[in-house]
């Protein structure tokens, strides 16, 4: 890397001047934390006493048998406190915020997972907390909003722009430029201006480090392929980090194919020809944008993948060929979810189920002495409102209608 914060031509820190000093401090604090072994130790201690790390690596014996090919293992980030890998990043940033002496955190959230994780971290560390969430998402993800509020966070519905995740990010930046003295912006994924992609990846690399070790201990060898869904790219970068130097381990990122990569309604930046390089939200990467550089609307059944940009590190790793990308459609995702629940008693988040789709496509053509690891980035019970709709469950609908009646009474 020639320039710091760049991954090939991607990355950078396209910052309004007002934030430059804040980022100088932030970069410095991060660099000093990264160089300080006691910081990582504190992080490990926190994650093993407050969340449930190391998370298990589960051998999915039934799925393996079902597909009759590679041995399928599942890395269980769903067992983290707050139910997803988001906790890793957020707790790490919490420690950094403490180190920087700031007292307030802000964050964007789409599905609400990162918002809940941040609000949780803020409660634990005693920080003030404001969460920006597109108005559309506030309406869709009320359960998460409810918990954020219980956790003491102020949830601000963003009514600007398309009122979804990217607009929440913009609003969070607008808050930050006002309050940077007291406030740290806890970005939820491996995107945004440098050093966010590097830092989020660093905290999430705990997934990959554990997985590598667990594979060697349990299977006696490294996996042949590792699958992860890609929204912003944090869970994927997290697990991939453990294997980047292991040339024989194939790394596969799976994006949101929505109604199909040809439909125009998807969120596939690296697995479709629809995205192009641009600069927004402070960094350079592939964006789903029009010819003028205006960001397009994206679609996915999984709110957490429904984002226009993608980690600059992944853009680079696609270019170097180190990571292969594919997309999974909404329909495939619901099917993979159904199968995984029935066969293994695991309920992956809709986001995570994207990784399962591609793994299921490839497993049958592999041999039983090959090993696949899928990153189950989160648990799906948070998705009940979406999943119930995807299944069109009439009993669920009746339950909601009756509940509404109760409230009308």
């Amino acid at each position: 890397m020639a320039k710091p914060g760049y991954y090939g031509p991607y990355g950078g820190a396209f910052l309004p001047e007002i934030l430059v000093a804040t980022f100088d401090d932030f970069r410095e604090a991060f660099a000093s934390a990264k160089a300080d072994p006691s910081f990582w130790q504190d992080y490990l201690d926190l994650m093993s006493t407050y969340s449930c790390r190391p998370t298990p690596l589960t051998h999915a014996e039934n799925l393996t048998k079902h597909f009759g090919g590679a041995q399928i293992y599942i890395k269980r980030e769903d067992l983290n406190h707050t139910g997803a890998h988001k906790a890793n990043n957020v707790m790490g940033q919490g420690l950094l915020v403490k180190r920087m002496g700031k007292t307030r955190v802000i964050a964007e959230t789409g599905a609400g997972q990162h918002g809940v994780a941040t609000a949780t971290m803020a409660a634990k560390f005693g920080f003030e907390c404001t969460i920006y969430m597109g108005e559309v998402d506030v309406l869709r993800q009320r359960p998460n909003v409810f918990w954020m509020e219980r956790l003491g966070a102020t949830v601000i519905p963003v009514t600007e722009g398309t009122r979804i995740l990217k607009d929440a990010i913009n609003e969070a930046f607008r808050d930050w430029v006002r309050n940077m003295d007291s406030t740290h912006y806890v970005m939820g994924t491996a995107c945004g201006p440098h050093p966010f992609p590097e830092m989020v990846t660093w905290f999430q690399s705990i997934i990959g480090l554990e997985t590598r070790k667990q594979c060697l201990e349990r299977v006696g060898k490294l996996p042949d392929r590792v699958f992860a869904c890609v929204g912003g790219g944090s869970n994927a970068m997290g697990i991939f980090s453990g294997f980047l130097d292991d040339g024989d381990v194939e790394l596969v990122g799976v994006e949101a194919g929505g109604h199909g990569v040809d439909s125009g309604e998807h969120a596939a930046r690296l697995a479709s020809p629809d995205a192009s390089v641009g600069v927004a939200q402070g960094y350079k990467t592939y964006f789903l944008q029009d010819q003028d550089g205006q960001m397009r609307e994206t679609h996915s059944v999984a709110a957490g993948l429904d984002y226009v940009g993608v980690s600059p590190i992944l853009s680079h790793l696609r270019e170097t060929g180190r990571v292969r990308f594919s997309a999974a459609t909404d329909k495939e995702v619901v099917e993979a979810l159904e199968l995984t629940i029935k066969k293994e008693g695991l309920i992956p988040a809709l986001e995570s189920a994207h990784g399962f789709v591609q793994a299921f496509k490839e497993a049958p053509d592999m041999s039983p002495d090959q090993v696949i690891v899928i990153n189950q980035s989160g648990r799906g019970d948070k998705d009940i409102f979406t999943v119930a709709d995807a299944f069109g469950d009439p009993k669920w609908e009746k339950f909601i209608k009756d509940k509404a009646e109760e409230y009308h009474a």
Partner: protein, 254 residues
């Protein structure tokens, strides 16, 4: 060059006025009308914002104007065309303001070429710090456009001097933390900050973010060369219509 124009104009006036509009807001036609009204009312420089879907440094007023303009289908090509019309027949300098992605996607060289052809004098792109601006600076330089850089209260003296090396035309001093369109306290603290800006560069200084009325403009006299009125003109338009802009501007410069 832009700084010569500013210095020459300053010989006549205590302070210059730069106003801002969003191209395509409320409509393309009306934004041209507003430009005309502003020039007639005596502004000395004009900022034409090409709307962007993610205007991260803008507050709600300009943000909403960006969105409205895009919803009505504004394209960059059209903005370029409108800018040409806006410039023609007026003698003051016009600047493009936008975010980096607009220039980047258009092609930096092509953007600079077309902007130059349209008679544009310089560009304000708040999300390109000099560190990220190599290509941008080169493209602007080739076409003799002034890349306007920004100082903020959080910018250190050292960094101000660093930025000054890349700045052309003038330096845009942001009055305070936050985004456009919020209130600014025109205070002693601001004085000190502006003194730091002044010490860091020989270029003229503009001050923006929160300049609203004659008192604000008066406060700035002798401290900066240009007072920038941004969100407030959009507010005037939103509340009193396009016709009110001329009077509003004349009131500031009185």
């Amino acid at each position: 060059m832009l700084d010569h124009y500013i210095r020459a104009k300053r010989a006549e006036k205590d302070i210059l006025l730069m106003t801002h509009i969003v191209l395509g807001y409320p409509t393309m036609d009306k934004s041209l009308q507003i430009v005309r009204a502003m020039v007639e009312a005596g502004v000395d420089l004009m900022e034409l914002q090409i709307p962007f879907s993610e205007p991260i440094a803008d507050g709600p007023v300009i943000l909403a104007a960006n969105q409205r303009s895009l919803e009505q289908g504004a394209t960059v090509a059209e903005c370029m065309e409108q800018a040409k019309q806006a410039v023609s027949g007026h003698t003051i300098p016009f600047l493009f303001m936008s975010y980096y992605n607009i220039l980047y996607k258009y092609g930096l060289d092509r953007f600079a070429a077309d902007a130059g052809d349209a008679g544009i004098t310089g560009t304000i792109v708040p999300d390109v710090p000099p560190e990220e601006g190599e290509e941008y600076l080169q493209a602007m330089d080739t076409r003799n456009l002034s890349p306007i850089f920004i100082y903020a209260p959080t910018t250190s003296d050292e960094r101000m001097r660093y930025i000054a090396q890349y700045a052309r035309g003038f330096v845009y001093c942001v009055a305070r933390k936050g985004v456009t369109g919020e209130a600014t306290a025109f205070s002693r603290e601001l004085d000190e900050y502006l003194a730091r800006c002044r010490a860091a560069t020989d270029l003229p200084l503009a001050l923006g973010f929160g300049v609203k009325n004659q008192a604000d403009v008066d406060f700035l006299k002798g401290k900066v060369d240009i007072a920038v009125i941004g969100s407030e003109t959009i507010r005037v338009i939103d509340e009193q219509g396009v016709g009110a802009v001329g009077d509003y501007i004349r009131g500031l410069a009185a």
